[in-house]
């Protein structure tokens, strides 16, 4: 087994706000291997977006306190000088954001914005070469009539097209890792499927490792190899797609899956809901963060459960729940 491409451990991000210290990410760790698709799933407020942005040092606001380690191919990124991060961004790790409508600068043509990404890392690139590459990339992501489209302005594109253009721009320097932060959330359902297909295809054809952030399990099922479920700033379950879907070990995951309509099960009379609301990140409950909403809470729960594998035959499947595996099978 080769060394993982991306190793995150002990990541903690807190923001100093007027109302107190907001712990957005509380000890998150995961690994991503080359060519793998890891999906991070969670509700809003779970800390998944903050995690994603912190990886590239994009969330550096003055009030942020960041600890932990983010290693890309062995190189430590957290706390690295700006110049190091700048080199990594776009060239080794590319990022695609949630809102394609506002992610492009409206006053420049799309092609030139793609070329700008290229020139940031290959300064000698001529205008013609940049444009040609942009056309190539547009074609690779399935934008029709790329020769003409490259000269268009962002507002002339639909949302789906703009997201494709974003992905094209991300691929410009052939990065090793693509971080996609809720890439389909702002899009129509039909367009969502197209973008996910595109991401899956890019992963297959180019071996592009992908970190996919989403709140939608349906999206996860389409593309992911492995899944990490986040809640209140922590990873509460982690495993392969099959493991998490068919043998979920954490009550929160049960809740999430239960509220998803699945084709492989009988349609429930009512969609299950997780009662209550996510905790305020300013005042996390003691012990297991899910305890207040968990229908199965018991004596052990006031202690923070570690994230570890509790099933003897699935060492890669880890979770944070004190319940014994047999008991979980009963309750699920």
């Amino acid at each position: 087994m080769s060394a993982p491409l991306l190793e995150v451990s002990g990541l903690r991000v807190a923001f100093a706000t007027e109302a107190g210290l907001l712990q957005a990410v509380d000890g998150v760790g995961f690994e991503l291997r080359a060519g793998e698709v890891l999906a991070i799933v969670g509700e809003s407020g779970s800390g998944k977006s903050v995690t994603a942005q912190t990886l590239l040092g994009l969330g550096r606001s003055p009030g942020a306190r960041i600890e932990g380690s983010v290693r890309l191919g062995g190189e430590e990124l957290l706390g690295a000088p700006e110049e190091t991060l700048r080199r990594v961004r776009g060239e080794r790790v590319a990022m695609v954001f949630q809102n394609p409508m506002t992610s492009f600068n409206p006053v420049y043509r799309l092609g030139s914005q793609v070329a700008e990404a290229i020139r940031a890392h290959r300064p000698g690139t001529s205008k013609a070469a940049g444009r040609a590459r942009a056309v190539e990339l547009f074609e690779a992501v399935g934008i029709p009539d790329p020769e003409r489209r490259v000269d268009a302005y962002p507002h002339e594109f639909s949302g789906g097209m703009r997201q494709r253009a974003m992905i094209a721009m991300a691929l410009a320097l052939e990065p090793e890792l693509l971080i996609a932060d809720e890439p389909t959330t702002a899009l129509d359902v039909t367009v969502q499927a197209q973008i996910l297909d595109l991401l899956a295809r890019l992963n297959r054809e180019r071996g592009l490792a992908t970190l996919l952030i989403t709140h939608d399990f349906g999206v996860v099922a389409e593309v992911a190899d492995r899944v990490a479920v986040m809640y209140a700033g922590r990873v509460v379950e982690e495993g392969t797609l099959d493991q998490v879907f068919y043998e979920p070990q954490h009550p929160y995951t049960w809740g999430l899956l239960g509220s998803t309509i699945r084709l492989d099960r009988e349609r429930p009379r009512r969609l299950a809901q997780i009662s209550g609301a996510p905790p305020s990140l300013l005042a996390l409950p003691e012990g297991c963060a899910f305890r207040p909403r968990c229908p199965h809470a018991f004596g052990e729960c006031p202690q923070v459960p570690e994230l570890r594998a509790r099933l003897t035959d699935s060492p890669g499947h880890r979770d944070r729940c004190w319940l014994a595996p047999e008991r979980k099978r009963e309750l699920r």
Binding site: L58, P106, A120
Partner: protein
């Protein structure tokens, strides 16, 4: 783009027409006094009044009066009566002074205002930021006729650093030209520095929070490129418009009080002197001249905006 420009310029003509009608009404219809009497001014004689009535056709119908007046204006026949000078000639003669004042002040307020705005956006919340806010509020609150007399009294009369009055043409003596204009330039610029700084600061703070700036960073652009090609480029667009309007207004002679206080014989001062003597034709002439430039620059500013922001050009998002 061309169609957009054409439309704006046609609009310009329409507005000028409206202004001319307005001024006509103001000068002839509204006043309780006989318009010929008005035009004759303070020290008039009955003969003068009668001859004015003939010349301007005040005995004709209202639309005809308007036609006569506009004829006079457009053919440069607008004349003031005491003393008897051609208004247009006067305006042309005085234009260079106003131009010198406007261009110099504009350069100063742009450079200082934008620099201050940029720095306070980048260091938001710092002492520099608070300084800018202070300057801005002071600029809007301290009227020209306080600044000018104070500056003149302290720096010109008492300290003798700057000459006190008048305008020296550039072609005559460049150094004199400069020293005579420094105080007026800064007086005029003082108000604007604060405004432009605040506008740029506000725009930059908004833009810096935009998603596309985050995208630019994520692409690996250097901080400098992010600030210039993305933040500044987008923040400056509304300022181009604002500058177009303000510069047009300044050239158009709205710096009346400044010119008057510093005894600069520009177009604005012409209007000021005429006002003091209750002479109407020069005031009317300057008002039209001013309106022309303001409306022209208004249209130019709109065109520039469309050029800079493709969304407007292609008829998409409304101007933000």
């Amino acid at each position: 783009m061309a169609r957009f420009a054409a439309r704006r310029l046609i609009g310009l003509v329409a507005v000028l027409f409206a202004v001319s009608v307005l001024l006509f009404v103001v000068f002839t219809v509204l006043p309780a006094q006989n318009p010929a009497q008005q035009l004759a001014g303070k020290n008039s004689t009955p003969q003068l009044v009668a001859s004015i009535e003939e010349e301007w056709g005040f005995n004709d119908s209202v639309p005809e009066q308007y036609a006569t007046m506009m004829g006079k204006v457009l053919t440069g026949g607008l004349v003031s009566y005491r003393p008897r000078v051609n208004v247009l000639e006067q305006i042309v003669e005085r234009a260079p002074a106003t131009l010198s004042l406007s261009i110099g002040a504009a350069a100063i307020w742009l450079v200082l205002g934008l620099a201050l705005g940029y720095l306070s956006a980048v260091h938001a919340g710092s002492w520099l930021d608070r300084l800018l806010t202070g300057v801005a509020i002071a600029g809007v609150s301290i009227p020209v006729f306080l600044i000018a007399p104070v500056l003149l009294y302290l720096l010109s009369y008492k300290a003798g650093i700057f000459p006190s009055a008048g305008y020296e043409p550039l072609t005559g003596n460049p150094w004199q030209w400069l020293t005579h204009l420094i105080l007026p330039w800064f007086t005029l610029a003082f108000l604007m520095i604060g405004i432009y700084g605040r506008v740029l600061r506000s725009n930059m703070l908004d833009v810096m929070n935009e998603d596309y700036v985050r995208t630019a960073r994520a692409k690996g652009l250097s901080e400098r490129r992010v600030m210039t090609r993305h933040v500044l480029r987008n923040s400056l667009i509304p300022i181009v418009t604002l500058f177009g309007l303000d510069f047009g207004a300044t050239i158009g002679g709205t710096a009346i009080i400044t010119e008057s206080l510093y005894s600069i014989d520009g177009v604005g001062n012409y209007a000021a002197q005429a006002t003091a003597n209750f002479e109407l034709p020069p005031v009317m002439g300057v008002a039209l001249y001013g309106a022309f430039f303001v409306v022209l620059f208004n249209a130019l500013a709109d065109i520039a905006y469309a050029y800079l922001d493709p969304r407007v050009r292609l008829g998409e998002a409304p101007r933000s």
